[in-house]
Amino acid sequence: MDVRQIAIYGKGGIGKSVIASNISMALHEKGLNVMQVGCDPKRDSTRVLVGGRLIPTVLEKYREEMRIGKDENAISLEDIVFKARNGIYCVESGGPEPGIGCAGRGVLTALQILKDLDAFGKYEIDVAIYDVLGDVVCGGFAMPMRKGYAREIYIVVSGELMALYAANNICKAIKRFAERSGIRMGGIICNSRNVKNEEEVAKEFSERIGSKLVHFIPRDDIVQSAEINRKTVVEYAPKSNQTRVYRDLAGEIIKNKSFDIPTPMEMDELERLMMKFSGEVI
C-alpha cells in the first residue's frame, strides 16, 4: 500500500499542531501505522505526542555530524525517528536559529534525509502527517509541496479574515505546484474561534476556492487542558465530544478520495465574502 502523505497547512497559531497530533492519534487507533513529521524550526509539533518533551531534530543531528567532519550518511533513522509511547512515530525537522539561515531549505533537507533513509519503508508507515509551519512565506516553505513529499493538502482555517487570507495564499501555492508535482487539495478544516457564522463562512470559502469543508471543529476548553497535561485530546479525554470530532475528522481524511486543484480568490472577493456573513456594510 502506498503511504498516504498528508500535509496540514494554515496560518500561524490556527491550531495545526493540535489538529495534526489528534488526527495522528485517531488514525493510530484505527490500526494504522502513523508518522508525524513536524516541519517547523520551533520543533513543537510532536510535543503532546511524546509526553511534553521536545525531541532532537533531524537538522540538529545533521549539523552535529557535519561539525565532526561527517556527512548526512552518518545519520541513522534511530537518531531522528522517535516512537512515542502511544505508538506514533515522531520526527521534527528543526531548523536554524531565528534570524539566520534558511528554514525552508532546512525543512527540505530534513525531508530529503528521511526519504534517503527510507523512513516510511523501514517503519512500514501507512500515513505520514506533515505539520507545516505558518503561511507559505517563501519558496522554501512550499518545498514539501513542490518536491511532492506532501500529496494531499488540508488547510486549517477559522472564520477570521486573516486565516482565510492565509489559506487563500496557500491555495495559490498548491495551484502553482499541482501540475508539476501532482499535489492536490484535500479540503478545508475549520478550527473554530467562535466567530459569527463561522461554519457558513468556511463552507462558502471552501466552495469558492473549488474545494470542500472537510470538518468543522468546535472550540472546546478541553483542548487547552489536554495540552497542559501534555497529551492529545484523544488520549486525555477519549470519551469527550471533542475526541469524537477528531476521530470523525480522521475518518473523513482517510476515506477522502476527492482531491482538487484550488482556484484561489482575489482579495476583494474574499472581503466581500466576509462582509456577507458578518453583516457589515461596505
Binding site: 537538522l59 545533521y62 549539523r63 557535519m66 531548523g95 536554524p96 536559529e97 534570524g99 539566520i100 539561515g101 534558511c102 528554514a103 531549505r105 532546512g106 533537507t109 495551484k175 502553482r176 501540475e179 508539476r180
Partner: protein
C-alpha cells in the same frame, strides 16, 4: 502558472536570454584582486569561487602577491547560516602576510541573511589586517555593477581624507572593467602619456595597486575614468567627498585618431601642458600615417571597406570610440551599435557621437547574445566588430568579416597590445587586415565578400 511563465518567455524580447556579462561577484573580485599584498575571501559555495579564479586571470594576478580563500559553503551553512564558518575562516587567515582581507559574498549567504559586515566588525580586533566586507551577491547585477559595489566599499572604508592635494596628479579609475585582453596595454599607454605630461598617478583603482596608494587617493587633484562601463560612481564619490576633479568627461576614450587627439588635448589643457599635448599628438599621428604609407601598398588593404555596412558589438569602453574609428579610419558605415552595458553617461556620449558623425544606426543598449543575433539578422552587416560570440552568431548570416576585438577572443591570443593611442590604431588595423587576408583561406568567404 506554467503557461503564464512560458508566455512571458516567448513574448518578451526584453528578457535576457544569454548574457555576455558575468555576475556582480566576478566584478567585485576583479576589483579587489587588483590590490597587491591583500587577500580575497569568497563567502560562498565553491562553484562561485570559479568566478574569482576567472577574475584572477583578468587581473593578471600573481599568487605571490594576492591570497584567495573561500568558505566553500555547503547545505549545512545554507540551512543554519554560514557566519560561524566565515568567522572561523577569517581567524584561520590570521597567519597570512596580508594588509587587508576583502570578504566577498556570493548569492547563497546573502539570501539566507549572513551578516558579513557584523562578522568583520566583531573580528577586526582579533586580526592583524584590515577586514573589508563587500556584499557582492551575483544577483545584485552584472560584473560592472560588482565593480561599482567594490569600488564604493573600498573608497568609503579605506580612503583617508587628505587636505593636501598633489599638484598635477591623477587617480585612474576602472581600467580593468571591460576585461578585454587589451586593457593592460591601454592602461600602460595612458600612464606613459601622463608621465610625458609630468602628471603623477596617485593610484589606479585597481591594478597592482597598493593599499597605501588607495588610502591616499584623496590627495589626487583629478580622476580619470578609463571605462564607459563602470567606475562613474567612484569618480562621482571622489568628487563630492574629496573634491577630486573629473577630467576628460563626456568624451569617448582614446581609440582612433580624432578620439585620441581630443583626449590628449583635454589632458593637456587641464594640466596646462598644451605644448606637450600638441607634440604627442603630432608625433603619434605622424607615426601612424608614415607606418600606413610605408606598409599601405602591400600590407593594409583596409581602404577597400569604404561604405561597407558595419556592426559594432562590444562593451561600451571599446564600442563607443570604435564608432568614430570605423567611420574615419576605415570609412565603414556603422548600421548597428550594440553595447553590453547601458550607463546613462555612456549613452550620452554615444548619442552625441552619433549626432556629430551624422549617422543613424540601430543602437541596442545592454545587449545580450540573443538581442545581438536578432539585430545582426535584421541589419545584415558585411563587417562586424565583436567577439568570438559574434563570430559564431554570424555563421548563418551573409556576413563575411568579423573582427575579433573584444572578449571573449578565442582565435587570437593577445599579450600586451593596446587599442588606446597611436599604436592602438595600428593594432586595430592589423586585426582588420588579418581578417581581410583570412578570406583567401575560404572559398565561401571569398564569394561572400564578393571578390
Amino acid at each position: 502558472m506554467g503557461d503564464k511563465r512560458i508566455e512571458l518567455l516567448s513574448t518578451s524580447t526584453e528578457r535576457c536570454f544569454d548574457p555576455y556579462l558575468r555576475c556582480a561577484l566576478n566584478g567585485a573580485a576583479q576589483t579587489v584582486l587588483g590590490v597587491k599584498g591583500c587577500g580575497t575571501l569568497t563567502h560562498g559555495p565553491q562553484g562561485c569561487e570559479y568566478l574569482v579564479y576567472d577574475a584572477f586571470g583578468h587581473q593578471d594576478c600573481d599568487y605571490t602577491e594576492v591570497e584567495t580563500l573561500c568558505t566553500k559553503l555547503c547545505e549545512n551553512e545554507i540551512v543554519h547560516g554560514g557566519e560561524d564558518l566565515l568567522a572561523h575562516t577569517i581567524l584561520e587567515a590570521k597567519e597570512l602576510n596580508i594588509q587587508a582581507l576583502f570578504v566577498l559574498t556570493a548569492c547563497g549567504p546573502e539570501i539566507v541573511g549572513d551578516d558579513i559586515v557584523s562578522v568583520c566588525r566583531d573580528l577586526q580586533p582579533q586580526v592583524p589586517f584590515k577586514l573589508v566586507p563587500i556584499e557582492s551577491a551575483g544577483f545584485k547585477g552584472s560584473e560592472y555593477d560588482g565593480i561599482d559595489i567594490a569600488l564604493d566599499v573600498i573608497l568609503r572604508k579605506l580612503v583617508k581624507d587628505s587636505k593636501r592635494k598633489i599638484s598635477s596628479s591623477v587617480c585612474l579609475i576602472a581600467p580593468h572593467a571591460n576585461a578585454n585582453p587589451t586593457w593592460m596595454g591601454d592602461l600602460e599607454w595612458v600612464k606613459q602619456i601622463l608621465s610625458q605630461m609630468g602628471v603623477q598617478v596617485v593610484a589606479t583603482l585597481t591594478y597592482k595597486s597598493t593599499l597605501n596608494e588607495i588610502e591616499n587617493v584623496a590627495s589626487a587633484e583629478t580622476s580619470l575614468l578609463l571605462s564607459h562601463d563602470a567606475g562613474k560612481k567612484a569618480a562621482d564619490y571622489l568628487s563630492s567627498e574629496f573634491g577630486v576633479e573629473q577630467i576628460c568627461q563626456g568624451i569617448p576614450l582614446p581609440i582612433g585618431m580624432t578620439n585620441t587627439r581630443r583626449w590628449i588635448f583635454d589632458l593637456g589643457k587641464r594640466f596646462e601642458v598644451q605644448g606637450i599635448a600638441k607634440r604627442l599628438v603630432a608625433e603619434g599621428e605622424r607615426m601612424v600615417v608614415e607606418t600606413y604609407r610605408r606598409k599601405g601598398g602591400y600590407f593594409f588593404e583596409v581602404a577597400r571597406f569604404q561604405r561597407t555596412p558595419a556592426a559594432i558589438v562590444a562593451d561600451a569602453t571599446i564600442g563607443i570610440p570604435l564608432v568614430r574609428f570605423a567611420i574615419e579610419e576605415l570609412e565603414l558605415k556603422p548600421e548597428l551599435i550594440a553595447l553590453r552595458s547601458s550607463r546613462p553617461d555612456a549613452r550620452e556620449i554615444l548619442e552625441r557621437e552619433v549626432d556629430d558623425l551624422g549617422i543613424s544606426p540601430k543602437i541596442v543598449y545592454g545587449t545580450d547574445v540573443y538581442k545581438t543575433k536578432k539585430s545582426l539578422e535584421e541589419i545584415s552587416p558585411e563587417v562586424v566588430f565583436g567577439s568570438n560570440i559574434e563570430r559564431h552568431a554570424i555563421e548563418e548570416l551573409w556576413t563575411p568579416y568579423i573582427f575579433e576585438v573584444v572578449s571573449p577572443m578565442r582565435r587570437f591570443r593577445v599579450i600586451d597590445k593596446a587599442y588606446f593611442g597611436y599604436n592602438g590604431i595600428l593594432n586595430l588595423l592589423e586585426v582588420v587586415q588579418n581578417e581581410f587576408a583570412d578570406r583567401w583561406r575560404s572559398k565561401e568567404k571569398r564569394y561572400k565578400a564578393r571578390w
